[in-house]
Assembly symmetry: C2
Homo-oligomer: 222 residues x 2
Amino acid sequence: MTDSAAPSSRTAVVAAAIDLFVQHGYDQTSVEQIAQAAGVSRSTFFRQFGGKEDVVFADHEVLLAETRAFLSQPHDDPWAAVCEASVRVFRHFAADPELARRRYKIVREIPGLRDREIVTVFRYERLFDEYLREALPGLDPLDAVGFAALVTAVHNHVLRRLMRGARVPASVLRRALDDALRRYGVHPGGDAAAGDDLIVAAFPRRMPAAEVTRRLRASLGE
Amino acid sequence: MTDSAAPSSRTAVVAAAIDLFVQHGYDQTSVEQIAQAAGVSRSTFFRQFGGKEDVVFADHEVLLAETRAFLSQPHDDPWAAVCEASVRVFRHFAADPELARRRYKIVREIPGLRDREIVTVFRYERLFDEYLREALPGLDPLDAVGFAALVTAVHNHVLRRLMRGARVPASVLRRALDDALRRYGVHPGGDAAAGDDLIVAAFPRRMPAAEVTRRLRASLGE
């Protein structure tokens, strides 16, 4: 048994804890059991984590730090950088969907963990918001707040699909983030062409509504 | 001392509690002191509120129920209904900005209350999201999720300005919500125009296809 608080020991503790939570239930699992299963001492556990809850959200602590580091690098386009940061977080969970799904199952069942997740998600939103305001001086705070909320909500919805068992490639998130960029008129490559133009359609009034709908859907590229 | 759990007694308890929290600090104030100051018994307090925290968020419980009731009424335009619901919540707090400011001050100082506020705000977001999906069958969930998040974030930012002491008329929020409607291509005014023989319809390309269909059906009198 090694007592050094190396990152690998942290990962082992998280894996052991998730295993125990799934097998015996979150409330029924003690810190002692986690420490024993992971082969660390109780004091090592408490040096690495504040408590049982923190084990469940350990990845987010690392990801939030990585996201902050990524955004603090120079970026030509801060809007795109926020989207890129969002894709990176998604990719982290998509790399091991089974672990993500097991963790999600635990979180969903315990109200306290669900609340903690909402608070954790909000930390990304605030990070994006603060980054945009800093990177784009003079930006209306409402635009920073709104874009950050939109990106975070879209990210979460796509991630939740993955965690519920669907196969969700990162391209699904990318497309949704492209839409977000277009809605804010900041999509690289010209918003006017792809996002802001109008579909103008003329139909005889006697044309059945279903046919009008069908043609319109076709012209919208659905 | 009356022990009937009437709404007026609830309001009195909230007012007394906020007074005590501001004067002596949240952590330093006991349920006993609140009950005594409000002129109710300890058991009445616990019938009305689950605990001290719930007193701080009592308004939101009422507002969430009112918002749900408002949205369950028929609305011609579900997007506009969500915005209207948001303005109604804002108006509630703007009607007594001093109380809102004192409550905000308490929440900001206690980490547990800050987290609870984030969770509470998310309940509005989820309510808007669920309402849009129900009111607009076929709507891409990503559009519901995104619009709900955008409206909630913008609402909160404007409300926070008010709570920090600024004079913020509801028109500031209305303008921000108009922007949100435009970003989703669903601002009323840019709608279908019907001629005698031709339906000429113009839609922003970014408007969700399901919404285009809905509007077209409506303009065709279906």
